[in-house]
């Protein structure tokens, strides 16, 4: 390196060096970007479930809890309507199951339990079970399993009127 402030003359050698450096950085960048895009997780729309037709409204008596293993949710019919609860424990993602005799959802991984509305009864789960949007038309219940909705605790607005 020269100490004077004037730019070093662009000799043939310097030019080649510069070109080589620029080209190889470009190559590294390209490869890096290509790898990143290549590795990007793929989210397919409707990967599991999509919109599930759960059946006729009348087929679910008030107070019933019905499991839909393929849709990974439970359909709960409360006094004032329906709730579709994701079966993924909000703690670390194990599948919860409904224990009818205890009237709660139980997660065997770290013993969290949730009441019928999905509210946490027993930690370590940090928040209530996720819900899926429900639509009722022609007397049938449609559950959209595309996107789970997060919530902290149960509020009455989450219920879809029957």
């Amino acid at each position: 390196m020269t100490t004077n402030t004037q730019p070093a003359p662009l000799t043939r050698r310097n030019f080649l060096k510069l070109g080589l450096g620029a080209l190889s950085s470009l190559a590294v960048l390209e490869m890096g970007a290509a790898s990143l895009f290549f590795m990007q997780p793929r989210r397919l729309e409707g990967e599991f479930g999509g919109v599930v037709n759960a059946g006729l409204v009348e087929s679910f008596p008030v107070g019933s809890v019905t499991e839909f293993p393929d849709g990974r949710f439970y359909l709960v019919r409360a006094a004032d309507g329906f709730l579709a609860l994701s079966n993924r424990c909000t703690h670390l993602g194990c599948a919860v199951h409904w224990q009818a005799n205890n009237q709660h959802f139980f997660c065997p991984c770290h013993a969290s339990s949730f009441d019928q509305q999905g509210d946490v009864q027993n930690p370590p789960a940090p928040r209530a079970l996720d819900t899926f949007p429900i639509e009722i038309s022609d007397g049938q219940v449609f559950v959209n399993t595309l996107r789970a909705e997060k919530r902290d605790r149960y509020t009455p607005e989450q219920v879809t009127q029957a």
Partner: protein, 456 residues
């Protein structure tokens, strides 16, 4: 280097070194051209060879890595990385392939043993202050190697695609998503989908058989090279080797045969033991993964059981932070403890030895008590109903734990008037033993519904 290899040498040894001329110059050249002596120095101090100093743990770990690579490559020839057929291919290996069960058991048990020996190696280096005196880089490389080993085990865990695998990985990846800022991205990348599925299996396989082995071999080579560049393994300073006021030069032995033969013997015994064990205890294989029904109890792999036990007592973010802080403290240990005078002495000093014992005893009494109290008598979120769980079940236990660690430090430092270096020995003994106790509780004392049970 231009000299031709003498041909009167047996062919076998020419593979390892390339000259046997009797004069000094040629002998030096023999040293330079020797494969073994690219890994080891030509001479090693006699005390460094003492079994009760190193317990051969580094060498044993390296041998296990070799066994794992060999058996792993074999398994690759018989394993399908597809969610539909992975489980069947493992079943075939277990029942149809000649020696299949043995090879898989060797791979499985070596992997588990490696976690233990690598951990013990870390303890040995910690207790003999092997991270001091210019060896801090290699200490950090060692910690990275330990993390690589854990990642290896974690990724390998999914491959059999049985119930154990499926749910341990579900829990493990959800745990990652609690890491602030980057966690969700890492978990998404690993899973390649909303739940553990084909995408996850493919990713884990690629990591397990290509990315991690490359990393491991690179880092291991660096680790070995650095041991040499740092002047061999740690040992007491030479001045302290005096006897009756007379300085006695440390005896130096040639690596071949003294070190190499010990290593060879240790490796042989280890492999023989592994074989015997693998013959009688096959690797476990549970039922096919069932995404809608986790087994009860659903446990993580045993080496993450300490973390899992922590998760039962605090919010995942708090548990991650606590683990992360301990890991950071380990990484920065060479900064925290610069007193290089005690290098090479187990537990630094007689006082340090007592501190270590006291730390371990403290943990032995305290940790089971805390676990029981939190399990049966204390329900923080219920006591503080208005608080978000992140505070009541997260921040509070985290602060409590950190305060406890500080208290132990203070007790040793100002109550017992110990040197900083000795206090750290006591403190880390407490942490290490706590980790072991939490792991044991998770493995043996957690039954159905993760309730505390008596194992016998």
């Amino acid at each position: 280097m231009s000299e031709r290899t003498p041909t009167n040498q047996p062919r076998r040894s020419r593979l390892l070194y390339t000259s046997a001329a009797p004069d000094d110059r040629s002998r030096m050249r023999a040293v330079a051209n020797n494969l073994i002596l690219h890994l080891h120095p030509t001479k090693v101090p006699a005390p460094a060879l003492k079994w009760s100093y190193t317990w051969g743990l580094g060498g044993i770990s390296a041998t296990l890595a070799v066994v794992l690579i060999v058996t792993g490559v074999l398994l690759m020839f018989r394993y399908d990385a597809s969610a539909a057929t992975a489980y069947t291919s493992i079943q075939l290996i277990e029942t149809q392939v000649l020696f299949g069960s043995l090879i898989r058991a060797l791979h499985h048990w070596s992997a588990n043993l490696l976690v233990i020996t690598a951990f013990l190696h870390l303890l040995r280096v910690f207790y003999t202050a092997g991270f001091k005196d210019g060896r801090s880089t290699n200490w950090i490389i060692g910690i990275i190697l330990f993390l690589i080993v854990l990642t290896f085990n974690f990724t390998g865990y999914l491959l059999p695609w049985d119930q154990l695998a499926y749910w341990a990985i579900t829990v493990g990846t959800s745990l990652l998503s609690y890491i602030p800022l980057v966690g969700q991205a890492i978990s998404d990348f690993l899973l390649a989908g909303p739940v553990v599925g084909q995408g996850a299996l493919r990713n884990f396989y690629a990591l397990h058989v290509a990315v991690l082995p490359t990393l491991l071999i690179l880092m291991m080579s660096y680790h070995f090279w650095k041991v040499r560049k740092d002047g061999g393994i740690s040992q007491p300073k030479e001045e302290e080797m005096e006897e009756n006021g007379r300085r006695r030069p440390i005896e130096r032995l040639t690596t071949i045969p003294h070190l190499v033969q010990v290593e060879f013997a240790a490796a042989s015994v280890l492999i023989a033991g592994l074989l015997l064990f693998a013959i009688f205890v096959p690797a476990p294989l549970e039922e096919l993964a069932n995404p809608s029904h986790p087994p009860n109890p659903a446990k993580a792999a045993w080496y993450f059981m300490g973390l899992q036990e922590l998760l039962l007592h605090m919010h995942p973010l708090a548990a991650m932070l606590l683990t992360g802080l301990v890991l950071l403290a380990l990484i920065f240990l060479p900064r925290l403890d610069r007193d290089a005078a005690d290098i090479g002495h187990y537990f630094r000093s007689a006082v340090g030895r007592r501190a270590a014992a006291l730390g371990a005893l403290l943990s032995l009494g305290l940790i089971p008590m805390l676990v029981v109290v939190d399990e049966w008598y204390l329900d923080l979120p219920a006591l503080l109903p208005g608080w978000p769980t992140l505070l009541s079940n997260g921040l509070l236990p985290l602060l409590f734990s950190l305060f406890g660690l500080f208290l132990i430090y203070a007790l040793f430092r100002w109550g017992g008037r110990l040197r900083h270096s000795e206090v750290l020995v006591g403190l880390f003994s407490f942490i290490f033993v706590s980790l072991i106790i939490l792991t044991l509780i998770g493995v043996f004392f957690r039954g159905a519904n993760m309730a505390l049970v008596w194992p016998f």
